[in-house]
């Protein structure tokens, strides 16, 4: 009886450990997924950049800055690829924003 209870306890501990590891793995996967979704949503607007307003462009640049901090924590290859991609879209938004601000200034 005692041996049976001990086995049951072991199974419970193993199941709990399994659940915790699954949670950690899923959280990491979801974390990676969420920054990729945010990256896509931020950088996909490059095609419409000329039609965006100054506040919209400023917001996109802020999102790029926040993303940069997250991507910097990724492993080497992901960091290299995505920081370059992010830089390209951020620089493009800054470039469009500058030109819009210059256009608004009286000559």
């Amino acid at each position: 009886m005692k041996a049976f209870m001990q086995t049951g306890r072991k199974i419970k501990i193993l199941a709990m450990a399994g659940c915790i590891s699954l949670f950690i793995v899923m959280q990491a996967a979801y974390g990676a997924e969420s920054w990729r979704t945010e990256f896509d949503a931020t950088c996909s607007q490059a095609t419409d950049a000329m039609a965006l307003s100054v506040p919209e462009l400023q917001k996109l640049i802020e999102r790029c800055v926040s993303l940069q901090k997250i991507i910097e924590r990724e492993e080497e290859t992901v960091r290299k690829v995505y920081l370059k991609r992010l830089q390209m879209c951020k620089k493009f938004y800054i470039f469009v924003l500058d030109s819009k601000i210059r256009e608004q200034k009286p000559q």
């Binding site: 607007q45 620089k91 493009f92």
Partner: protein, 267 residues
């Protein structure tokens, strides 16, 4: 007379230095070599020959933007510093060369491996090339025969090839590219030439954005969005800046004046 013995050797030395510093004629690439890039950041250290990348093979299938924006390849040879580990993780060349992706009903070969057999080494030398590649040359000429011809560069008019539907470059890769809305193209504009009698340039945003998108050129290559902000001359372009980043290396070369200088002078 004595002066001759003194002056002639000096002249010979000066001429020798001048010749060594660029007096030699630049090698003009053959059509199949045009747009070829040699990548050798880490290959030789790892005991492999450098990678010889052919733009003509890839540009028939993919837009410039897809590789240089979405995949993340730099615009200067060797600037990306691709490692075999990056490829094996499914980035850079490994984005497509992963042994799984299928294009035109053909499986794209895997790019790199930690260990390889003698048989598998045949796959390595598809990119890490030792010598002149006769098979590649034949493949190029077989391909170019079917394409609209051009006078310079690859002797292929890529733009016409796309217009005729002979090539259909893909601009989106699932899991790699961000889904973008349809690109609103800015109108074409004229760039006034400085040389009298030389036709002005008609710059087509449409032609360029279709393959490059926006962020590939702005602001890294062309800093100004307003016409005339980026001031450059043909010297800069021949130096590989501005239009010269692509035109001469991969896109049609600058010797093909009439491709850009198309607007006849007014009056």
């Amino acid at each position: 007379m004595r002066k001759i013995f003194f002056v002639v050797p000096i002249l010979l030395v000066v001429a020798g230095i001048a010749w060594a510093q660029g007096g030699m004629k630049k090698h003009k690439p053959l059509p199949y070599e045009f747009g070829t890039v040699t990548i050798n950041n880490y290959s030789q250290q790892a005991g492999m020959p450098p990678v010889v990348f052919d733009h003509w093979v890839h540009r028939q299938y993919y837009t410039c933007r897809l590789c240089h924006v979405d995949v993340g390849f730099g615009m200067i040879a060797g600037s990306t510093k691709i490692r075999s580990a990056d490829n094996m993780k499914g980035y850079y060349c490994g984005t497509c060369h992963n042994g799984e992706m299928v294009h035109n009903k053909k499986r794209i070969f895997e790019s790199c491996a930690k260990e390889y057999s003698r048989e598998e080494f045949k796959r390595c030398v598809k990119c890490h090339t030792f010598e002149k590649r006769a098979a590649k040359e034949d493949e190029f000429y077989r391909f170019s025969e079917k394409m609209p011809s051009e006078r310079f560069g690859n002797r292929i008019n890529w733009e016409a090839a796309e217009e005729k539907g002979l090539i259909k470059p893909v601009d989106y890769l699932e899991g790699v590219s961000s889904k973008k809305s349809h690109l609103k193209v800015n109108p074409d504009f004229a760039i006034k030439t400085k040389v009298e009698g030389m036709p002005d340039i008609i710059f087509s945003h449409k032609k360029h954005t279709i393959w490059n998108g926006c962020e590939l050129c702005h602001p890294d290559i062309f800093i100004g969005v307003k016409k005339g902000t980026s001031k450059y001359s043909m010297v800069d372009i021949f130096d590989g800046r501005y239009c010269g980043v692509c035109h001469e290396k991969v896109a049609f070369p600058q010797t093909d004046c009439q491709r850009c200088h198309t607007k006849p002078p007014q009056g």
